[in-house]
């Protein structure tokens, strides 16, 4: 290499062979997950600490194993309302006072309601750790849950629901989740619906709160520049007295989802929209699936990153989109597999048919090639070290352990497990977990240009109004 290279207009360069040969990637960097020190508070909550001493910062994450899947059937969104109300005030502070108290620690409390868990996260300076734990203790043990706060939260969430209706990706996500899971508790997101929100009473909130926010089964994770013993003692002082206000949790376990069995095309018409949002997919496995590492590898190869098959096809070769990605959304009891992209309107039928071709090919006509598989695996295994940089990354990794009740050696087994994935394992995983025949197609855009062509997909086409 090196001959014939030039910088246009820049004159001749003396070529230097060594300079023009791409260097190898070098030896992989081996890292191990930092040890966790585990204890149990006198409240019954677990506390896990992770020492990470780069800068004087601590991340605190509290994982409670109740999420939107625990919403009563008639009240989708209730877990989200309860989470919103928790930082609307405590016995000591109103909503603004609480935000000011966190801000004066250089911090901010974020509450994330997922399908299976609710996670409270904050990052603060190490010197403020105990004060931050005290505020978190207030939020967990002495929330106000006032009627007037509920009214405000209700109104803000109604406004939010109203606004997301005009976001094509939010419409598509909602349509897909609801079609894939049907009436299953995973079939709705944390925002719920306006109709359900209008009915929620403060008694509903208090009852859900009593059943959900309990120390037993909760995990407090403290990661950062703090000694384990200091963190555990501070946690005991501030959260040791947390008591459940109801004797037993009222939630039935979430069942595994059964396929609604209705592969179909769901059209949400937005006349005049310049782009089409496309989601194609179906139900998928839970996080504890045996083939987890084969699926992670398969996804990296097919659509998980920029250099995956689907993005190279739709973006790099054809210029039809700004990007296309696939993902397995692993949950505790089930999950989904889907491909999401946003494409120019007139390319909608072509894009959908190309996605189907790629789904078919990876388990059939074009199985993973050796080189391609090695690339996918090495991107995952070599890139693993990037997940250990910040206290927040470590805390969230530990939060996944808590959410899925995984054993602590999962991180150290991850790289060898991915390295051991064979082409046959990827093909088998693809055949089992990517099923074009079952796929639901959600298309949100100006249907006048492509509705008729989608009939060729050999599944019913239905127009949908998505409830918000």
């Amino acid at each position: 290499m090196g001959s014939g290279t030039f910088r246009a207009g820049g004159g001749d360069l003396v070529t230097d062979d060594r300079r023009f040969v791409m260097p190898a990637a070098g030896a992989p960097a081996h890292v191990t997950f930092p040890p966790m020190v585990r204890a149990t508070l006198s409240s019954g909550a677990r506390v896990w600490t992770i020492h990470h001493d780069t800068i004087p910062v601590v991340t605190i994450a509290l994982v409670v194993s109740v999420g939107s899947a625990c919403d009563p059937a008639a009240a989708p969104g209730l877990a989200g309302v309860v989470a919103d109300l928790l930082d609307e005030g405590t016995d000591r502070f109103d909503a603004i006072g609480l935000a000011e108290a966190f801000a004066s620690l250089g911090s901010e409390l974020s509450i994330d309601v997922g399908p299976d868990t609710t996670t409270f996260t904050l990052t603060t300076l190490t010197r403020f750790m105990e004060r931050a734990l005290a505020l978190l203790g207030d939020v967990m043990t002495r929330p106000r849950l006032h009627e007037s706060d509920l009214e405000r939260v209700r109104e803000m969430r109604l406004n939010r629901l109203r606004q997301v209706r005009s976001s094509a990706s939010a419409v598509a996500d909602r349509a897909f989740l609801s079609a894939a899971f049907g009436a299953h508790p995973y079939g709705h997101g944390t925002l719920g619906t306006s109709a359900a929100l209008a009915r929620v009473s403060i008694d509903d909130v208090r009852a859900f709160h009593a059943a959900a926010m309990r120390p037993l089964g909760a995990t407090l994770i403290i990661a950062g520049a703090v000694a384990a013993q200091d963190a555990i003692e501070a946690a005991e002082r501030q959260l040791g007295g947390w008591q459940a206000s109801a004797a037993v949790s009222l939630f039935a376990p979430v069942p595994a989802a059964m396929s609604s069995g209705l592969a179909r095309v769901i059209v949400v018409d937005r006349p005049g929209a310049p782009q089409t949002e496309v989601n194609v997919g179906h139900l998928g496995p839970a996080r504890n699936v045996d083939e987890y590492h084969a699926l992670v590898t398969l996804n990296a190869l097919l659509g998980g990153q920029f250099s995956s098959r689907i993005n190279l096809n739709l973006r790099e070769a054809r210029g039809l989109t700004y990007g296309a990605r696939t993902a397995f959304d692993f949950r505790v009891r089930s999950g989904t597999f889907s491909c999401e992209t946003n494409v120019q309107g007139d390319a909608t039928p072509l894009v959908v048919s190309e996605i189907f071709k790629e789904f078919e090919a990876v388990g059939g006509s074009r199985p993973a090639e050796t080189d391609e598989l090695e690339r996918a695996k090495s991107s995952i295994t070599r890139g693993f070290v990037r997940q250990f940089e910040t206290s927040e990354q470590l805390a969230h990794a530990a939060a996944r352990l808590a959410t899925f009740e995984l054993s602590a050696d999962i991180f150290d087994r991850f790289v060898p497990e991915v390295e051991a994935v064979t082409p046959e394992a990827v093909s088998a995983a693809a055949r089992r977990h990517i099923r074009p025949d079952d796929a639901i197609v959600v298309v949100v855009g100006d249907a006048s240009t492509w509705r008729e062509q989608l009939a060729a997909l050999d599944r019913p086409v239905e127009d949908a109004e998505i409830e918000f």
Binding site: R19, Q275, N342, F388
Partner: protein
């Protein structure tokens, strides 16, 4: 707070190295001091389209930038603003040479890999990006309308960084080559390397890989016409549910006097739950469905902005009056000592949090380059923090009085299609060039 050494190669390339041995990880970051502000009339969007082309391959890596670096465990991206274009990768330590080699190859030898076919495909990708991120997103065209209204047509901030579709369609691969020749050369670039490296060893590598790239032509700074300051009212109909008001005030450039004061002011006025308008408009009176404020700092001049989304049935004029009244109160009475103390703690904390990551947008390597490119000194971190720590009540009062009066505000009402009655009275339709 970020120890570094700075070096300048014979061809003018500035190199900043920061050692951090906590993890076997290295961040490589390159800033080219060129953005959409450097574009010629009729060529809007070229800087950003060019950024895309930088990932498509160079003479000795003709198959693109992503595959070799992702295979090596790296993550990578780039971005373009009005003022600069940046490129970053974060790789395991063993791939340091690879990441630097890739950067050197596209800094020196991009053009041979630049084909018409690649150019045309990438133009379609960018047009998709524009439709997805702006045209098809609620309120997505608001800033385009505001830039066109606030900046005169020959001002470099008049056009959007993503470009006008008509200009993008008219651009050719020859325009891209010429752009590379003019702006992509060592003397217009700053390379930052942060992480698990030894400075002397990595500098030998840099010298070997980048040293022979020829220095480019001298560059002229863009001309900056004056920005007229006059009140205006504009309206835009969009696929939105709730009307939203944007109040924009031309304000001092990045890192100049009062820039940090106005950043603090934005937080006090309408940013987050601890802000004054959050309490009054959202929490207490529920007239707004959303609020935000910011000092949008840029190299050639900034815009201070307050953005308020109306709760259903609320007129935008009520929000406008509430914002202006709050600014008036700040000008008269200033912020309280408690507000300033909170702002100081938040500044200290947010600067500390910025030290957590080596690479990526806003990581340590990116910050070193930002300071180096905009101030000439990678060590500006401490001075930057100090700007925030020393803000006084009198500073806030003076800045609000000087820059944030009603006579300086450009107001844009974004309203649902066909519902102009929700806009501020006497608003004229905004222009969004397509």
């Amino acid at each position: 707070m970020i120890p570094f050494t700075k070096h300048t190669l014979g061809n003018g390339l500035q190199v900043v190295v920061h050692e951090d041995h906590h993890l076997p990880l290295v961040a490589v970051n390159v800033w080219y001091h060129v953005g959409s502000a450097n574009e010629a009339p009729g060529r809007s969007g070229l800087a950003h389209l060019f950024e895309h082309l930088m990932f498509k391959g160079a003479a000795h890596q003709p198959h693109g930038f992503f595959e070799p670096l992702q295979k090596a465990g790296g993550s990578l991206n780039g971005s373009t603003s009005a003022d600069r274009t940046n490129y970053w990768s974060v790789v395991p330590e063993g791939a340091t040479e690879l990441a630097l080699w890739m950067e050197a190859d596209r800094m020196g030898w991009l053009v041979p890999a630049l084909s018409t076919e690649r150019f045309e495909t990438e133009r379609e990708v960018v047009l998709n990006e524009r439709r997805q991120s702006y045209e098809n997103r609620p309120y997505g065209l608001a800033y385009f309308a505001l830039s066109e209204a606030i900046y005169p047509s020959d001002h470099p901030y008049h056009w959007p960084t993503i470009g006008y579709p008509s200009d993008l369609r008219a651009a050719t691969v020859d325009n891209a080559r010429a752009f590379f020749e003019q702006y992509y050369h060592p003397a217009n670039a700053s390379l930052a390397i942060a992480g698990d490296v030894r400075t002397d060893a990595v500098m030998r590598l840099v010298e070997r890989l980048f040293g022979a790239i020829p220095a480019g032509p001298a560059l002229l700074a863009p001309k900056i016409p004056a920005v007229p300051v006059a009140p205006r009212r504009l309206l835009l109909e969009d696929r939105v549910e709730l009307p939203r008001l944007y109040l924009m005030f031309p304000s001092p450039a990045l890192f100049t006097e009062d820039d940090a004061v106005l950043d603090v002011t934005a937080d006090l006025v309408a940013n987050g739950r601890t802000s004054r308008l959050y309490r009054t408009l959202l929490h207490d009176r529920r007239r707004a469905a959303g609020l935000g404020a910011g000092q949008g700092s840029r190299e050639l001049g900034s815009l201070f902005q307050v953005v308020a989304t109306a709760a259903p049935g609320i007129m935008l004029d009520e929000l406008r009056v509430a914002v202006m009244d709050e600014l008036e109160r700040l000008a008269t009475a200033g912020p309280s000592e408690a507000e300033l103390e909170r702002a100081r703690v938040q500044a200290e904390a947010s600067f500390l949090y910025r030290l957590q990551t080596l690479g990526g947008f806003g990581g340590k390597a990116d910050q070193l380059n930002a300071y180096n490119v905009y101030t000439g000194s990678p060590s500006y971190f401490e001075q930057d923090l100090d700007r925030y720590l020393r803000v006084t009540a009198a500073d806030v009062q003076r800045a609000v009085r000087t820059f944030l009066s009603a006579g300086q505000a450009v107001a844009l009402s974004v309203v649902p299609q066909g519902q102009r009655q929700w806009a501020l009275e006497l608003s004229e339709p905004a222009v969004v060039t397509s």
